[in-house]
Each structure stands twice: as structure tokens, then as C-alpha cells.
Amino acid sequence: MSALAEFWRRFSLNAAAVVGLVFLLLIVAAAIFGPALYPVDPYDMIGRPSQPPSARFPLGTDVSGRDILAGLIGGARVSLLIGLVASFGATVLGVTVGALAGYRGGWTDAVLMRLTDFFLTIPSFVLAVVIIAIFGPSIVTVTAAIAVVSWPPVARLARAEFMAQRDREYVQACRALGMSGLEIATRQIMPNALPPVIVVSSLLVATAILTESGLSFLGLADPDLISWGYMIGVGRTVLRTAWWMPAIPGLAILITVLCINLVGEGLNDALNPRLRQR
């Protein structure tokens, strides 16, 4: 448990990261408990369209007369879920590719890294658009598309970590104890290689939320789900008459992404072995 306490001590040295964490937890809590505390159906047309904020509709209504606050809460669920699942998928894929390339080396490394380079050269947003255009827009394809375009940086990082670790003497000692390559890679090297990967994949969550918003804004996301990007897309037509309509979900995206980046920075301070001396 002392390792955990030490981790928290280093994390809490970064005040901005702690502030980011607090706000992020509030946003997550809103996504989880919000619908219970504010039981309005975000899909239900319950008022006159395009109302400014009022006592009945705290954040107003959108062009179809749906409650924006309810949409914001519902959208938090969708945006955060897609962000988390997509970056988790990208991390698993990236670490698998990177670990295999870094640990095995040789032609395995060459083939996997050329594949990674191939994905890195294609603009990720365009590739995501193409994938969704092929498989059709649904929450599953959007999440998968974001994961598929996000894994290459994770793979490169994991590869570098595994290459640095595989020639360390403790790995040699593990071989001298008769461990197989798979055991060494997954049970011995992985825990040593993960800290920087965790930092990068925490930042991937922010990128994934932005990508999802961009896709929804273009109308490429699941048409049956309200996400923040979708709300901006709907509101942009009335930007001059009802500026708050796209601004409110935009602010939500801004704050969430900022908080995730701050937390990522804090994780970097807490986990980066090169900063351990502080």
C-alpha cells in the first residue's frame, strides 16, 4: 500500500492535476447520477423550440424543443463512454502490437512497425470517417473506428519500453529461472513498461472525446444517440440567434478535455521514472 500512498503524494504535488481530477469526478458523477437527479428524457420534445434558459428549462431548449440540460447529462454518458472504451481498446491493441514488436525484435518488429507507420501516415480523422462510412454509423462502429485510428502512438511507446526492458539483467535472470517468453513479457516486463503507457492512454480519452464530437458534428455518429458533438451539430444552424445552444455542449467538451489533460499531466508526474527524484 505504500506504493499507492507514494503515487498519491507525487500526484497531489501537481495542484492543477488535483483540480482537474475533482472536476472530472464531478462530470463522471453527473453522467452516472444525473438522469436520476434530473429525470427529464433528453429525447422527448417537451417545450417550445429554441427557448433561452429559464426556470423550467435551466439551459433552454434546442431547435426541436428538447431540454438542453437533459441532453448535456445524457450526452456526458455517451461521450465519456465512447472516450473510455475507445481509448481502452486503442491501449490494448497498441500495447499488444508494441510489446510483440519490442520484445521479439527482428522481422516481427519490422513488419509490425511498418504497419504502425502506415496507420500513422493516414490522417486519423479521415480514416475514422472512411471506416464509419463503410460499416455504418452506430455507437459500436464509432467506438471501434476511434480505437483503430488511435492505437499507433501507444504501440510505438510500448515498443520503446519493451526494447529498453528486454535486455535488462532481471529479464536475463528470469530466463535463467526457466520462464517462457510469454511469461516474461506479460508478467515481468509489462508492469515495468505500463506507467508511461497509462499516461498516454489517459490523454487518448480526451482525443477520443474530441474525435467523437467531430464525427457527431458532421452527422457521422449514431443518429439515435445524443452526444455533445451531436448537440453542437444541431445548434450550429441557429448560432446567430441562439448562441448558447452550441456553446453549452462546446463548453462541456472543453472542460472535460482540459480536466483529462490535467489529470494526464499529474499521472505523468506520479508515474514517470525520470521525474522520481522530485
Binding site: Y170, A176, G178, P191
Partner: protein, 328 residues
């Protein structure tokens, strides 16, 4: 000190290791043979790059895994040829039949796991012990290698321990599955002199208690004198002399062994100057045709440059055309 005539636990026969390089094949070890009996310590001494660590690594089959090298010869552990074993059977031998400890105990322990976990891991792997049984056995092992309050130490991380303690943990890991042979590759080089003595005494004690054979790889002649029964001197990939430790220290037969001993005892020298061996080790790419030590040897004659000398037989072996006469 006595050379036991018991059946050898480990027999290495004509072991050669060749690395292909862009400049041609480099022979790191050539024609190395030795035997090791239970309860005996054989020290392999030689300077850096003479092939002693390469030989140790090839015995447990760790060399071929990453480098593209060619290993030939036979390694017999209790009569079983390790070279012919499958990769999986070889994994069972490593840590099971042969344990190994390394030079730097800081680097050889995984920094993210507790020391107890790392000892227990080996037990679960080779012995299939349950978590509870592995923990109890690991605590016993920590106690065996002389770590005070082993139950509390179990949950500590490598960075919580001193260098000497870490080397004791390494020894506990190597001993976890009661190997027949312990290979110690420079086990005390990274430690303070006072800790060195403790670790050497520990290895000595465990060897007697557990009836292991110890293969000690070192360049430190003081260490050899302390713990070895027999010594094999290596030079440029070949064994040039092998003898019981007292005989080698009193009357080295090979000019290279003589040079090493003179350099090690230089403080006794009246002149106060370090008696060095002139010249340098020949490049492995341009080995002399004859004796590899001939260019540096003060006893070299014309025939030394023609053919490499063979080893004489028996308990006292030397590979030299003109060895120092040894009083019988």
C-alpha cells in the same frame, strides 16, 4: 580442497561458441571441457572478454536465445545432454536443475515486485506450489540465506534492501528449487569487500548444507582462494590451466597463470611496481595460428607460434608447449 572422485554432476565436453560477425566468425569459447562434482566449487578465472561468462551462459542455453551464435559440444547434467533438450525441457532445467546468480543484484531483481513474490514465483513455476505454500517456503529460504526477520522482509521491494541483502535474495531465488548446480557469475563484484566475504561464506555454507556443486565465474583471485576447490584459468576463449586451488596458487604452470598471480600479489613485490603482463589480448578476429598467449609470453619459443598447445591430462592440466616445471 580435495578433488573428489565422485561421478560428476555437471560435465562440459568440448564446448565451443562462435559468433558470426560482419568481419568473420569470432570464436568466444573454444574446446572448453571440465567436470564438476557434488559439493565441489570450480572457479573459472580470466580477464574480461576471455569467454568465461559466455561459457556459463551457453551451459544453461541462454546464449542462443537472442544472439545468432553457434554453440557446439556437450553439456551433461547428471548424464543428460542439455544441448539435445527441447526449449520447454530446457526451461525446466533452468532454475530447476541449475540455478544462476548474477553480478549486479540491483539489476537482476524486478523493481516492481516484492522480493518474496519473486522467490515464490520460481516455486510456483517449477514446483507448482500453491500461493500459501510458496509463501511459507519463500520465508524459509529468506531465513536460510541469512536475512533477518524474513516474514517482514517478504513484502519489501528490491529498493528497500542493501546490495548485500539483494544478493542474498538472488541466491534464495536461485536455490528455491534446490538445484544440483549453482552458477555464480561474478557474484561479489558489485559488493563492498566486507559484504563480499559474507556472501562468499553464505555460498560456501549452502554448498555444504545442500550438497550442491558451484561453478564460480570470477576475475578476482582473492575470491578464488577463499572458496574454490579447483581453478580453471581461461585465456582468449581457451582453458589454459586447471589445477586444485593450492597447487595453482603455489606453483602455476602456465606463464599466463603466473602473470595473473604476480599481478595479484604485487604488494608483496619489493619494487612496489605492478608487474603487468606486457601486450594485450589478441583480437578474436586475428587469433595467432599457434598458442594465443605466445605474443605476450616471456617463455615463448619458435614452436609456440606454429600450433596451439594441447591440454595435458589428469587433475593438473596445462596447455603450454613449455610449461614452468612443477615440483611433483
Amino acid at each position: 580442497m580435495t578433488h573428489s572422485a565422485a561421478r560428476p554432476v555437471l560435465a562440459v565436453e568440448d564446448l565451443s561458441v562462435t559468433f558470426p560477425t560482419s568481419h568473420g566468425a569470432v570464436k568466444a569459447v573454444s574446446g572448453l571441457s571440465f567436470t564438476l562434482s557434488a559439493g565441489e566449487t570450480l572457479a573459472i578465472v580470466g580477464e574480461s572478454g576471455c569467454g568465461k561468462s559466455t561459457a556459463a551462459m551457453s551451459i544453461i542455453g541462454l546464449l542462443a536465445m537472442r544472439s545468432r551464435c553457434h554453440v557446439s559440444g556437450r553439456v551433461l547434467l547428471e548424464g543428460q545432454d542439455l544441448m539435445s533438450l527441447s526449449a520447454q525441457a530446457m526451461r525446466g532445467v533452468r532454475g530447476g536443475g541449475i540455478g544462476m546468480i548474477f553480478q549486479d543484484p540491483m539489476m537482476a531483481l524486478n523493481p516492481v515486485f516484492t522480493i518474496g513474490w519473486q522467490i515464490a514465483e520460481s516455486l510456483r513455476l517449477h514446483r507448482g506450489l500453491s500461493a500459501g505454500a510458496a509463501r511459507r517456503r519463500a520465508i524459509e529460504l529468506l531465513d536460510l540465506v541469512g536475512i533477518p526477520s524474513p516474514a517482514e522482509r517478504y513484502d519489501q521491494y528490491p529498493h528497500n534492501l542493501s546490495g548485500g541483502m539483494r544478493q542474498r535474495v538472488m541466491i534464495a531465488i536461485a536455490l528455491a528449487c534446490e538445484p544440483k548446480v549453482l552458477i555464480a557469475d561474478e557474484p561479489t563484484t558489485a559488493l563492498d569487500v566486507t559484504i563480499q566475504a559474507q556472501v562468499l561464506k553464505l555460498i560456501e555454507r549452502l554448498k555444504t548444507e545442500l550438497g550442491m556443486a558451484v561453478l564460480l565465474i570470477t576475475h578476482d583471485l582473492g575470491v578464488v582462494w577463499e572458496v574454490a576447490d579447483r581453478v580453471a584459468v581461461m585465456y582468449a576463449g581457451r582453458k589454459v590451466e586447471e589445477a586444485p586451488v593450492t597447487e595453482l596458487f603455489q606453483a602455476p604452470a602456465h606463464p599466463y597463470s603466473q602473470g595473473l598471480l604476480r599481478a595479484a600479489r604485487w604488494q608483496d613485490d619489493a619494487s612496489g611496481r605492478l608487474p603487468e603482463i606486457g601486450g594485450a589480448v589478441p583480437s578474436p578476429l586475428r587469433m595467432p595460428k599457434g598458442c594465443s598467449f605466445a605474443p605476450r609470453c616471456h617463455r615463448a619459443m619458435a614452436d609456440c607460434a606454429l600450433a596451439p598447445p594441447g591440454l595435458t591430462g589428469g587433475a593438473r592440466q596445462v596447455a603450454c608447449h613449455h610449461p614452468e616445471p612443477v615440483a611433483a
